[in-house]
């Protein structure tokens, strides 16, 4: 399956009227933007631009501050490793965590997915050596992705344009 189709599948799989997606800086973010442009309805996606590795941090802050929102963090393997220590913080707050490679826990409001392809793709596909880490803390699921066969457009034009939209959406959830 092509990476863009995998992203689409993930977006559909976790969709609900309360879902907010936080997507890490990288091609996944650009794919999601392309997908959202072509959908009739819009997924509520916070596209990260910079702030490497902080997608799960934003997700956790959101999760703890609103009891209705369902947070889906889509993170990259390299991006996860940049802030791997944060996995321990997630475990503390999300709970029901079993130490193993791939973890399925019962939390209905929180998902932290890692897209794994062992390369820094958006910087030119450099392979990295350091993904032998077996802690995998704070991860809900690891999804293997293939190298993409085309380069998605940059999303430089839209950084944070939809921030207030997402903020309003979350505010409305509280009153539902």
């Amino acid at each position: 399956m092509r990476p863009k189709e995998q992203i689409q599948k993930i977006l559909r799989r976790f969709y609900s009227d309360r879902t907010v997606y936080i997507i890490y800086t990288g091609y996944a973010c650009r794919f999601a933007y392309e997908i959202n442009e072509n959908e009739n309805f819009k997924y509520k996606i916070f596209y990260m631009q910079g702030s490497m590795g902080l997608a799960p941090c934003i997700g956790l802050g959101l999760y703890l501050s609103n009891s209705k929102v369902k947070v889906v963090v889509i993170n990259g393997d390299g991006s996860y490793l940049m802030q791997a220590g944060f996995g321990t913080v997630i475990d503390k707050w999300i709970g029901d965590y079993i130490h193993a490679g791939i973890i399925e826990h019962d939390n209905k409001r929180w998902k932290h997915l890692i897209l794994q392809n062992h390369i820094y793709e958006s910087t030119g596909g450099q392979e990295f050596d350091h993904w032998n880490y077996t802690g995998y803390q704070g991860i809900t699921e690891i999804i293997d992705v293939e190298k993409t066969d085309y380069i998605p457009d940059r999303v430089d034009v839209l950084p944070f344009d939809n921030t207030l939209d997402i903020k309003q959406f979350i505010q409305l959830l509280e009153s539902k």
């Binding site: 916070f46 990260m48 631009q49 902080l54 941090c57 934003i58 802050g61 944060f86 950084p159 921030t163």
Partner: protein, 137 residues
């Protein structure tokens, strides 16, 4: 509002933040913040203890998205870690509602350079200086 606190004035600092509506706390401790953190621990506010200062900025931003008023506390030695997320997340997204509490230790020697430069660093990235509280000896 007071912007420089003495290290023994942690209780005053905490109550003035609560009075101003701040209701979400995250950061990495400093011994200068002991009284402040004691007061925070006995309150019921959400308090996320992170393992690297940059993560505090991310967590605080997430809380801000959910309409909280977050506080990030750190030592001046952590300023390097928070600069990138401030410049690539908070400022572009127009999120100026986060209060930073930064301790300026000045000594021993490893704290001196950043303690002296801290104010200018925040100023240089155009972060509003009424959103930074300094804690000193």
């Amino acid at each position: 509002m007071k912007y420089i606190y003495h290290l023994d004035e942690g209780n005053d600092l905490f109550s003035s933040l609560v009075k101003d509506g701040y209701n979400f706390f995250t950061g990495l401790p400093c011994s200068y913040l002991k009284t402040f953190l004691d007061a925070l621990t006995y309150s019921n506010f959400p308090h996320v203890k992170i393992v690297n200062e940059s993560q505090a900025v991310g967590v605080a931003f997430g809380a801000w998205l959910a309409n909280k008023k977050p506080v990030v506390y750190l030592q001046e030695s952590g300023i390097g870690h928070i600069l990138n997320p401030m410049a690539t997340l908070l400022i572009p997204a127009g999120c100026y509602d986060i209060m930073f509490i930064v301790t300026r230790r000045y000594e021993p020697y490893q704290h001196t350079i950043l303690a002296k430069g801290a104010y200018k660093i925040f100023d240089s990235i155009n972060w509003p200086l009424d959103k930074v509280i300094w804690v000193e000896k």
